[in-house]
Structures are given as C-alpha cells and as structure tokens.
Amino acid sequence: MSLGKIRYLLLLLAIGSMACGLGRGEANIILNKAARVCMECIGLG
C-alpha cells in the first residue's frame, strides 16, 4: 500500500474517531472538567 493511501486512510480514521467521540458525548465530559479548576493540574488533588 502506498504512503499516499495510508495517509488518506489515517485521515479518514481520524475524522471517524472524532465523530465517534463527539457522538458518545466526550466533548461534554471535557467541558465539565475544563470549566472547573482541575485540582490535579494545580497540584492540590
């Protein structure tokens, strides 16, 4: 399989993966985490 085909397959995989993630509500989980102070990130959790 040529490098070009592998690239386009990976692009499709990436877009499909993002769509799948959005479909199962991952963006909402990320927003819930990011909208509050992440205690672990600041070394208090």
Partner: protein, 287 residues
C-alpha cells in the same frame, strides 16, 4: 514554504493569544466556562489556566480515559491523529504556548548542551504510563482514573494554572502541600534545563510531541531534501534546535518543523511543504 524566525514568532504569539483569550481572568483567578472549551487546543495549554479558551488535548485524553465506561477519548485521539497526519509535529514549532515559553527561556545566555540521547525516549514512556496507562488502570480497578500526567508531571499546568490560581486564591495557597511542592520542583528544574538545552521538555518529556512525532514520517506537510542542491555544509544541523541532522533524518520524529534548517540552508536544499519543489527549469521559448 519559507517562514522567517520573526514571522514564526508572530504566529506563535498569535496562537498563544488565541488559545488564551481571557487574559483579564489572570487577575481575578476565574475560569472561562464557555462552550469553546469543548474544543482542544493543538498545543500544550492547561485548561485550568484562567486565560484558557480551549482545552488541553492531553488533559482531555486523560479525563475521558479515566471516566467509567469510556476508557479512551476517540475525540481527542482523533483530533491529534488528524493534526499529526496533516502536518506532523508542526504544532510544536508554531502553535504550542509552552514551546514558545521554552524558546524564550533559551535566550538566556548560558552554554548550550545537547540532550543525552536515551532521554529522547522518555516522552514515549510518559505517554504510555502517565497519559494512557494510569488513568485507564485506575478507571478499571477503582471506577475513576486520575489525570496522572497533569497530576504528577505537567509543568504547563503548574506554570499556567497553579501559579495564577494560587496568587489569586488564598484558600489554594493554604491547601498547597507536598504534591504542589513536587510539581513546583519539576517546573523549576525544567526552567533551568531549558536554558542550556533548548526545548528540553519537548525533547525529553512531552507526550503530545511524542504523538505528533510518530506522524512526522508520513504527514502530508513535510520536510523535503533536494540532494542535488545539498553541499553538505552542515548549516542545517547547526541551526536545528532539536539537534537533528536534516540531511540524514529529514522527517525525524524529533523534528518540530520550525523551519530553522530551511532558513539556514545557503542552497535552499530543504523545503517544508506538501509537494517536493519542482527543480525543472521552464523550457525557454524558442521561435
């Protein structure tokens, strides 16, 4: 695509400001809570930074990965794969706020040192253990996994989130203990290391760079070497902040696509772009 250092610096500043639009929040210590935080930033930028408008992709991977019944973030993973396939590690060189910070630190006039080569592999260990492994392991055993890289390592979180929040919130200052001391020590050590080893964190520790770097050899936008033009003067190797020899490792996983080699080449043998430069001269018109 030839981009001067001044223009790249401007792009880096613009990207940092676009990722951190809520600058006024730095004085109040409040966090932006808008829906833009559903989107991931291309570079390392803590979502608990009061100025942050976008989310950190590594934080997103760990948060979703550590949430029961999810296990892996297809959204953030797909986003990183998409950027990686499009332009490899170019986001490190142009769009990462922490990369810009390290480049500014490297301006401190100290003797330059090269990174001990085996340390280059540490970032893959960080990715496998702290970003993917530990959140998944604790999610499977205890139902919820901590964002281990953010919690124990991430210096961007300490710099961009912990310091402004501790300065503006007395209750956080009182709660700061051993874990904060560990993270502050890591940040301090990195600051010193970055002064003598340019982009020390990118080279040795950054899991985001590790993900993008794996895509470097097959990305659509890449570095092309025209061997017929190369005179092996070594100017590209001397200019490279990542200590790569672009003649031998043109699309190395370590290359951040900053274009320093391209700018240094007196023969214009290196070219960053989608297609190889066409060297054929246009046939002259003959009557």
């Amino acid at each position: 695509m030839l981009i001067s250092l001044a223009r790249r610096r401007l792009i880096q500043l613009m990207a940092t400001l676009l990722t951190n639009q809520q600058l006024m929040n730095l004085t109040s210590g409040r966090l932006y809570k808008g829906s833009a935080k559903e989107l991931c930033a291309p570079g390392l930028n803590c979502y608990s930074c009061p100025a942050a408008t976008l989310s950190c992709p590594l934080g997103a991977i760990q948060t979703v990965g550590g949430t029961a019944s999810y296990g892996f973030s297809f959204y953030a993973g797909g986003f990183l794969l998409l950027l990686g396939v499009l332009w490899g590690r170019l986001a490190c060189g142009f769009l990462c706020p922490f990369g810009l910070f390290q480049e500014l630190l490297a301006k401190v006039p100290l003797p330059r040192k090269k990174l001990y080569a085996p340390l280059l592999y540490l970032k893959y260990l960080m990715l496998l253990v702290f970003v993917l492994g530990l959140p998944l392991f604790f999610m499977l055993t205890e139902g919820i996994g901590p964002p281990a890289f953010c919690q124990y390592i991430c210096p961007a979180g300490t710099l961009e989130a912990a310091l402004p929040l501790l300065l503006t919130h007395p209750e956080y200052r009182e709660a700061a203990g051993g874990l904060f001391a560990l993270k502050a020590a890591i940040l301090a050590a990195l600051l010193i290391a970055c002064m003598s080893v340019p982009r020390f964190f990118c080279k040795a520790l950054c899991p985001l760079g590790a993900i993008y770097g794996l895509m470097n050899p097959l990305s659509i936008c890449r570095l092309h070497l025209d061997k017929s033009r190369c005179i092996s003067c070594g100017a590209c190797q001397r200019a490279c902040p990542m200590d790569i020899d672009p003649r031998k490792q043109t699309n190395s996983p370590e290359c951040i696509r900053c274009g320093a080699c391209q700018n240094a080449c007196p023969q214009q043998a290196l070219h960053l772009g989608i297609k190889k430069r066409d060297n054929k001269k246009t046939p002259e018109f003959t009557s």
